[in-house]
């Protein structure tokens, strides 16, 4: 198997501390194209390989503003433009009465947009992923922590990368086929 047929080289650990330390070492050796897989969120891990911030909050905000504005517009349009109906001389644009629906529509659209953004940015649904080929990877959702250096990394070399990973005292070093 040449490095073209490999997705990457993975190392398996059994504590969050071990993978955090391993990721720091791998980053110090100059690798950038690496991914970590953990059974629960481990703080600081994504940041090591340059994933500092996410746009998720912006999507929530945009969805919320759109929903609230749209919700208010709908009520204003219905009561002022499309079907103005004088009931006891009450103002057509009686905006305080429109607030509850404006609020609910804001929440609804913020939640829908934000969660959709989370799923799409994570490129889910993704039925196949190279890591799923490893039988050991089943435990990534139980009690094992995986670090995978991708073969697309300019520094990737089958032997050197494997040696580096072995020096980190993992439970196993595994080749991930493409």
């Amino acid at each position: 198997m040449s490095s073209e047929t490999l997705y990457g080289m993975a190392a398996e650990f059994d504590t969050p501390e071990a993978i955090l330390e391993a990721a720091r070492v791998v980053r110090r050796y100059g690798y950038r194209e690496a991914r970590t897989y953990t059974p629960f969120p481990v703080g600081g891990l994504a940041e090591i390989f340059g994933f500092e911030r996410t746009w998720i909050p912006a999507f929530f905000l945009a969805g919320g503003i759109f929903g609230a504005a749209g919700g208010f517009f709908m009520q204003w349009f219905a009561n002022v433009v499309h079907l103005p109906w004088d009931i006891g001389g009450k103002p057509m644009n009686s905006w305080p009465a429109f607030i509850p629906i404006t609020f609910e529509m804001g929440i609804l659209f913020a939640a829908l947009t934000g969660v959709t953004a989370m799923i799409v940015l994570n490129r889910l649904p993704q039925p196949f992923h190279a890591m799923f080929q490893l039988p050991a990877f089943e435990r990534a959702s139980r009690d094992r922590f995986f670090l995978c250096i991708k073969s697309t990394d300019p520094q990737f070399s089958r032997e050197k990368t494997a040696d580096l990973l072995k020096s980190l005292h993992p439970l196993a070093v595994l080749e991930v086929p493409r």
């Binding site: 991914r35 897989y37 509850p100 609804l108 829908l112 989370m118 889910l124």
Partner: protein, 475 residues
């Protein structure tokens, strides 16, 4: 006095039991919690479950029968009439939607408050919310009379150029309840994604592997995914927290917008929210106490959880008691003959037994929760939770029936008697609720596995040193 104040060590060494009882029993590892919670779903069916599911399924059939007859004959099969046009249907609606409030409260509010004890109860509390909202949502639709026109509630382009009345609290309610149901579903599903991946990886047959695999969408615990996931989950919690408050406030406004004595009161929105969370926690305990025994979750849902839920019940109970007191005070202070008559009618009128029962169930009985020994006795807490469920149902019954029954003119007074079909519909939704809950408990992890793994990490990592979690201190 001064001695204890100067020596805090003696205070913390065994006086306050709740400080010692951990939220997670010692000895838990990532693998053990995963296998324990995931294993429940994979173990063979027990006769107890089949029996319980079978009985509730029969009750669901009663509900389908009641709905079919309702569609055939109309709302005349119920006891409603003028003046009591809102009978069991609205009572049940408000009761169910109230129960549905605890799930999102636990998930959202307690997450934002960093109450880590929520971890092992949030999943099934959210499921409870969804099922309760499903039961609640049916009642206003059934109460419409002509169910086939239910879509008239929604603003849609129509040839009649008509719009819903956006100034009405009843239309706000349509938006509030449907938003609440949808956001609760999203919140629940997002929380489930990592656990569905765990279930996919645990599957040993192709069928479950495919189903859980599709639902998990290819989740693999990538750290970048986790970061986006956690951000989205936290923001969802931030959105859901005010949503919880808004939904039952709007339900309260359904009543207070009317001019009827007993309904026309500014206390309603906060009083309804407190009552909703009160009844919701009662239902959480009704479900949690048998579940922790039957599924062997005593190490995950500890006495600490029961104790904390009881404390929250006590707080919300006192808020509800304030609401009752404010209603009576308003009856006197308003100087209105109608308001004061309505209050007296509750005390000594034809429905007085319901009023005094609810005072007993919601105000008197929960006072035993001041005692820690009671809060930590699961049998007493379980019985009390049932009593509170009944009490909160009676509260809604009392608010709706006694207010409508004798309003302004004695010539328009009347009585309300529930019919067989009222009861069949109500009991049918109880069956639906428990039937869906039994299915949930068998098909999905009832406790969030990923979050408990995180809790294992946190408690081993310093916030609760393992040395302090000695089994001797544990009930």
């Amino acid at each position: 006095m001064t001695a204890t104040a100067e020596s805090p060590v003696t205070i913390s060494s065994g006086q306050d039991m709740t400080q010692v009882i951990p939220v997670l029993m010692p000895g838990a590892t990532y693998a053990s919690v995963t296998d324990q919670i995931g294993g429940i779903v994979q173990r063979p069916l027990t006769w107890l479950w089949i029996m319980a599911f079978g009985i509730t399924f029969v009750v669901v059939m009663v509900l389908t029968g009641a709905i079919a007859y309702l569609l055939l004959r109309g709302v005349g099969i119920w006891g409603i009439d003028i003046p009591v046009a809102w009978g069991f249907a609205i009572t049940n609606f408000v009761w169910w939607i109230g129960i549905g409030h605890a799930g999102t409260f636990i998930s959202a509010m307690l997450l934002l408050m960093r109450q880590n004890w929520r971890t092992s109860i949030n999943r099934f509390a959210e499921a409870m919310t969804l099922f309760a909202v499903a039961c609640a949502g049916m009642f206003p639709l059934m109460h419409l009379g002509r169910i086939k026109f239910f879509y008239w509630l929604a603003p849609y382009p129509n040839t009649m150029a008509l719009w819903p009345q956006f100034r009405s609290a009843l239309v706000w309610d349509v938006f509030a309840v449907s938003t609440y149901g949808l956001v609760s579903l999203i919140f629940w599903y997002v929380g489930l994604i990592p656990d569905l991946a765990t279930m996919r990886d645990r599957s040993r047959n192709r069928f479950t592997w495919t189903i859980y695999g599709m639902m998990a969408m290819g989740w693999r615990g990538d750290s970048r995914h986790w970061l986006r996931y956690q951000t989205a989950y936290l923001l969802l919690a931030g959105l859901a927290a005010p949503l919880v408050v808004s939904v039952h406030s709007i339900v309260g406004m359904d009543f207070s917008e009317a001019q009827l004595p007993g309904w026309h009161s500014t206390i309603f929105p906060p009083y309804f929210v407190a009552g909703a969370i009160f009844s919701g926690f009662a239902m959480v305990l009704t479900l949690a106490i048998p579940m922790r025994s039957l599924f062997g979750f005593k190490n995950l849902i500890t006495i600490r959880h029961i104790d904390n839920c009881c404390k929250l019940m006590l707080v919300t109970e006192l808020l509800v008691a304030y609401g009752y007191a404010a209603e009576v005070y308003t009856g006197w202070y308003s100087g209105s003959v109608y308001e004061s008559y309505m209050t007296m009618n509750r005390f000594i009128g034809p429905y007085a037994p319901a009023y005094w029962s609810l005072i007993f169930c919601n105000i008197v009985a929960p006072q035993i929760l001041w005692s820690r020994r009671v809060r930590q006795n699961v049998i007493i807490v379980f019985i009390l939770s049932l009593v509170i469920n009944v009490g909160m149902w009676l509260e809604r019954f009392m608010i709706i029936i006694t207010s409508l029954q004798r309003d302004f003119l004695p010539s328009s007074w009347g009585m309300y008697y529930p019919t067989f079909w009222d009861w069949a519909t109500f009991i049918g939704t109880l069956g639906l609720f428990f039937c869906m809950f039994f299915l949930f408990a068998r098909l999905l992890p009832a406790i969030s596995i990923a979050e408990v793994r995180e809790l294992v990490h946190e408690t081993a990592g310093g916030s609760v040193p393992p040395s302090k979690m000695e089994p001797a201190n544990v009930i």
